[in-house]
């Protein structure tokens, strides 16, 4: 992107030097490229996303390489993860018929979760999902998936009719309501799916930045120690909240994906 410096503290504001509070801004989400490959800049978020994928691949490969009937070790952990997704996310929306979508939902859940969790790990401390590209790409995949499933279940015309005609509405109000239903089902859903994840991660990271930077900046004020300690305590509390939010946002993303797939396959309209 631009030539913006990587960290606000690189602006030269040292502790006890009397400068103003180096407020975190959107510039903190832009990174200088580590290296460039044929015109594509490889930055920290790109590395993190690839790392998340590699971690998940390696973990599940090791877990299920030689599956035993009575699981031990990594397989136990892997089964815990997969069964959690299957029972709490997939079967809640689709019932038993949803089991064929299990690999997809497992991949989405763990990929989003690991990318989110990078915001909490020391030395990494950046959620890759706070760059809009990653949630947008995932939402695009989900969107194409559920539209394809719907069209394959009911045929393009049948699916279009189901998307456009709301149930329970009297026929005379249909011209007013079907554009809303169609627009909402086809266009708004992937948009809100991406924005929800992106905004949550962006704001969480910004909050941690604000209070983390304030913790050391306030030390240089006259009664700074009290404020700095409070700010540090808040940083700790917010990190705890962030642990919850990272898991919750991954859960919501996976749940909504399953719900949209269920909505596409249901024929009871």
């Amino acid at each position: 992107m631009s030539d913006v410096s990587v960290m606000t503290t690189a602006s030269g504001c040292h502790i006890f030097s009397g400068c103003g509070y180096p407020a975190p801004s959107i510039a903190d989400f832009y990174f200088k490229p580590i290296f460039t490959v044929g015109g594509i800049a490889i930055t920290k978020p790109v590395v993190l996303a690839v790392l998340a994928g590699v971690i998940i691949l390696i973990f599940f490969y090791v877990a299920f390489r030689k599956p035993k009937l009575v699981p031990r070790g990594t397989q136990n952990l892997g089964e815990l993860g997969v069964l959690f997704v299957r029972d709490q996310i997939l079967r809640q929306q689709l019932g038993r018929k949803g089991d064929k979508y299990l690999p997809f939902i497992v991949a989405i859940f763990f990929f989003v979760w690991i990318m989110n969790v990078f915001s909490l790990i020391p030395l990494i401390q950046f959620p890759a999902t706070s760059k809009i590209a990653f949630p947008a790409g995932l939402a695009l995949v989900v969107w194409v998936t559920y539209i394809t499933i719907g069209m394959r279940t009911k045929g393009p015309i049948g699916y279009f009719k189901q998307m456009a005609v709301p149930e329970g509405a009297p026929w005379w109000i249909l011209p007013l309501l079907s554009p809303v239903e169609l627009f909402s089902n086809i266009l708004v859903r992937p948009f809100t799916l991406a924005i929800r994840l992106f905004a949550n991660m962006l704001s969480g990271h910004l909050l941690l930045l604000v209070f983390g930077l304030a913790s050391w900046y306030l030390l240089s004020l006259s009664i700074g120690l009290l404020f700095a300690a409070t700010s540090f305590l808040l940083t700790i509390i917010l990190t705890g909240l962030e642990v919850l939010i990272t898991a919750l946002q991954a859960f919501i993303f996976a749940t909504l994906t399953s719900f949209y797939i269920a909505d596409a396959t249901e024929t009871s309209h």
Binding site: Q88, R91, Q92, Q93, L94, G95, P166, E167, G168, A169, I173, L176, L177, P179, V180, E181, F183, S184, N185, L187, V188, R189, T192, I252, T255, L256, S258, F259, Y260, A262, D263, E266, T267, S268
Partner: protein, 75 residues
């Protein structure tokens, strides 16, 4: 979290709705406002009455709420 979807024509009223449906209603309201707000904006440009733009958004909001009510009260 018991919003189990099954292939039946009506839903079991004793089961709470799934959270996905809540987000769907939210997207109805957003989508309705955006869609009819855009229609209203085009109409405002065409007729020269700027009031049609907020009127369009209100129509969109009302349609979305009507849609939600129809969907919730289906038998």
């Amino acid at each position: 979290m018991n919003g189990r979807r099954e292939q039946e024509s009506g839903r079991d009223p004793s089961q709470p709705r799934s959270p996905g449906e809540g987000w769907t209603f939210l997207s109805y309201m957003i989508g309705g406002m955006i869609l009819y707000g855009f229609v209203g904006w085009l109409a405002a440009r065409w007729t020269g009455w700027p009031v049609l733009f907020p009127v369009g958004m209100l129509v969109g909001l009302a349609s979305a709420i009507a849609l939600i009510i129809f969907r919730v009260t289906r038998s």
